[in-house]
């Protein structure tokens, strides 16, 4: 048997504090002989007492404090949700910056080689020694300028990336 017809009566008597002194004596006598009701009495009295004790021990925050924390957290989560696409765009911008820097550095490297070839050509074409030296000087000036630009990009790109990706 997993249930008893008088189980609900027993539970009610325990719940309203009538067990065992103030309830129907017939009910108490029944519980003494019914295994199901005896278990119900033992378990429900123990758990109800424990619940009352636990409730009395609770040191609860006020409703206002719980509400306030919830609103703060909801707002923070909403802000995070809004910031997600912005973060994605910032990451894309950072990647583009790095790509452009690398491309520009590659282009600059090629132009240095082109300048070298151009200066060689000038030196071959130049008749006098003085003209050839002037041509090499022109090539060297351009190469230094390109090198300076590349170095500036390499330094400035991470700084720009930092300012782009950092939090406010």
């Amino acid at each position: 048997m997993i249930a008893c017809d008088r189980e609900a009566d027993v539970l009610e008597a325990v719940a309203f504090g009538r067990w065992a002194g103030h309830c129907d004596p017939a009910l108490a006598a029944h519980a003494a002989t019914c295994a199901v009701c005896a278990d119900v009495v033992a378990v429900s009295i123990a758990l109800r007492d424990d619940r009352e004790w636990a409730c009395s021990q609770a040191n609860l925050p006020t409703a206002g404090a719980v509400w306030w924390r919830a609103t703060i957290r909801a707002r923070a989560e909403a802000a995070r949700t809004v910031m997600q696409p912005i973060g994605l765009l910032q990451a894309i911008a950072g990647a583009v910056t790095v790509g452009l820097t690398a491309g520009f550095a590659s282009l600059a490297w090629r132009s240095i080689h082109w300048m070298d070839r151009f200066s060689d050509m000038l030196s071959r074409v130049a008749v006098s020694r003085g003209e050839a030296a002037a041509a090499s000087g022109v090539s060297l000036d351009h190469a230094l300028l390109v090198m300076f630009l590349v170095a500036a990009c390499l330094v400035l790109a991470p700084v720009a990336l930092y300012f782009t990706l950092r939090d406010e």
Binding site: A3, V43, D49, P61
Partner: protein, 205 residues
Amino acid sequence: MCSRASSGWSVRLRTMRDLTLSDLERLGDATEAEATFVMDEDAFRLFYDRTARPVWAYLSRMSGDPRLADDLLQETYYRFLRAAVTHDDDAHRRNYLFRIATNLVRDLRRRPRVDQVPMRDGVDATDHADPRSADAATAAARRLDLARAMTRLKPRERDLLWLAYAQGSTHREIAETLGLKTASIKLLLFRARRRLAALLREGGR
């Protein structure tokens, strides 16, 4: 409808604790956030005052840690406020609240620490240190017996018994809270009750 994925709650709790004063100043007016809640502040205050103690008692007993129950209580109400669920009446609201609490405790149980120390606050030092009356000592001893017995039950049995006999929930309400079929509650409850009663009898000897 009511079930929600409950992973990651501890991360959010940590996030709450990590909020600084400047964060709070920056967050400022929270009116927009409140708009996403299922009830306004006045209604929440009334609801909280009616339900907070039993929910805390449930969380405390099922998690086994009163301090953790404080955090879980905040999380439970936060999830309740944010849930996009329409509640028919107060009883449904209360059941839903307990369902959230149950899910949070289940998440905790997946971590090994918690099941090893359930109902710790039921047997703390204040129980034994209170010599004011023989009744108090007897009550403390009973709570100790109950705590020991509950540790030997399965988590679901503890949930069932607490909801049925401490909380006074109906079978339908228990089924809703625990995500079980109403028809199965009677048998599950019978088994759990018989087991706990036997353990209590053993403990009383």
